[in-house]
């Protein structure tokens, strides 16, 4: 046969995008809000989750899907809070994908939940390519990492709904310029909510809790079904 050209024009990650859409539909049908947390290694994802669970567990029924890279320390910490925790073993991987999340969600009783958090693998680059099907994506940058990260890795900041700056208790010892950072983010992604906080001192955490509540209300069509705290 003679060689011929086929016109394809199909996304290589189309399979992941379709799986992500299915995850979102599944969650929607149970009115469960899923929020993904992404950051570099050690920026404070688990610490934020611990604080968040402590504070919101009376209000919402919470579960956590944890990426396990090497050790299950993080998942054990979360499970120690007595909430449903699913471990996704992803040693050597640089991101979670929508199919992994689908398996994780299958282990949860979605009827019994209001809120699912996903702790992604520590990585600002690869994670930006893979939609997990979360309703909201939050990226965390810690003060010691420096305020120039959105210029080096714009995509993850571009696709996130909330941009959190963690460890602000150490601001006095670093040259992180919060105003300059916020300006770059609002230029790059005007819709993103910018939320500086410290899991150590608790400063700024209320903004994060309010954002979660608002996201939950959006999903429920304007009503927070749990009522006021």
């Amino acid at each position: 046969m003679t060689p011929r050209m086929l016109d394809v024009k199909q996304s290589i990650l189309g399979v992941n995008a379709a799986a992500a859409q299915m995850n979102r539909k599944l969650l929607d049908s149970h009115r469960v809000l899923m929020i993904s947390l992404t950051s570099s290694p050690g920026s404070g994802k688990t610490s934020l989750l611990m604080r968040t669970i402590e504070r919101l567990r009376e209000r919402y029924r919470i579960a956590v899907v944890e990426a396990i890279a090497g050790s299950s320390i993080d998942a054990d910490l979360i499970a120690g809070q007595n909430i449903p925790t699913v471990q996704i073993h992803a040693s050597g991987a640089c991101h979670l994908d929508a199919a992994m999340i689908r398996k994780g969600l299958a282990e949860l009783d979605l009827h019994q939940l209001d809120l699912v958090f996903v702790e992604n693998i520590g990585n600002l680059v690869c994670t930006a390519d893979f939609d997990l099907g979360a309703h909201k994506n939050a990226v965390i940058l810690s003060v010691p990492e420096g305020d120039d990260k959105p210029r080096k890795h714009p995509m993850i900041f571009l696709k996130s709904d909330a941009v959190l700056v963690s460890k602000i208790d150490v601001l006095p010892w670093f040259d992180f310029n919060l105003n300059a950072f916020s300006e770059v983010i609002s230029d790059l992604n005007p819709a993103a909510k910018i939320l500086p906080f410290s899991a150590r001192t608790g400063e700024g955490m209320d903004g994060w809790f309010a954002w979660i509540r608002q996201s939950k209300e959006e999903l429920n069509g304007g009503k927070d079904l749990q009522g006021a705290v």
Binding site: R4, M5, I12, C94, C126, A128, P154, S186
Partner: protein, 113 residues
């Protein structure tokens, strides 16, 4: 990096298209890669060699077209290279800019027989 999972998707997509076109062999695959996808060419080709071995895509060449990320000013409608200090339009100093390009990852076309 995640080239392995990308190549798995690439290969299954290519094989599916080849099968639908009743092709016996895939000779080459033209893919478009945004500069901000975190995908490295050398790693892609290496994994592709491994994974395609026992398929009709064995020996196929991958041709890459890179797409840079650019800024577009919504007011001036001009395209500018990324990498300036801030995300502002250098012409009108405005903030109504958006990043276009850079996240593409798709098969444009393939040569089969």
């Amino acid at each position: 990096m995640h080239e392995l999972s990308v190549v798995e998707s690439l290969l299954s997509l290519a094989l599916k298209n080849a099968e639908e076109a009743n092709a016996r062999r895939i000779l080459s695959i033209n893919i478009v890669v945004g500069d901000y996808t975190g995908v490295v060419e050398e790693a892609m080709s290496l994994y592709f060699g491994f994974l395609s071995k026992d398929t009709i895509a064995a020996g196929a060449r991958i041709n890459y077209t890179h797409v840079p990320a650019q800024l577009r000013c919504r007011d001036c409608d001009i395209l500018l290279p990324l990498g300036r200090r801030d995300y502002r339009c250098p012409r009108c100093e405005g903030r109504r800019v958006e990043i276009v390009g850079g996240r593409e990852l798709y098969i444009e076309a393939m040569e089969v027989e």
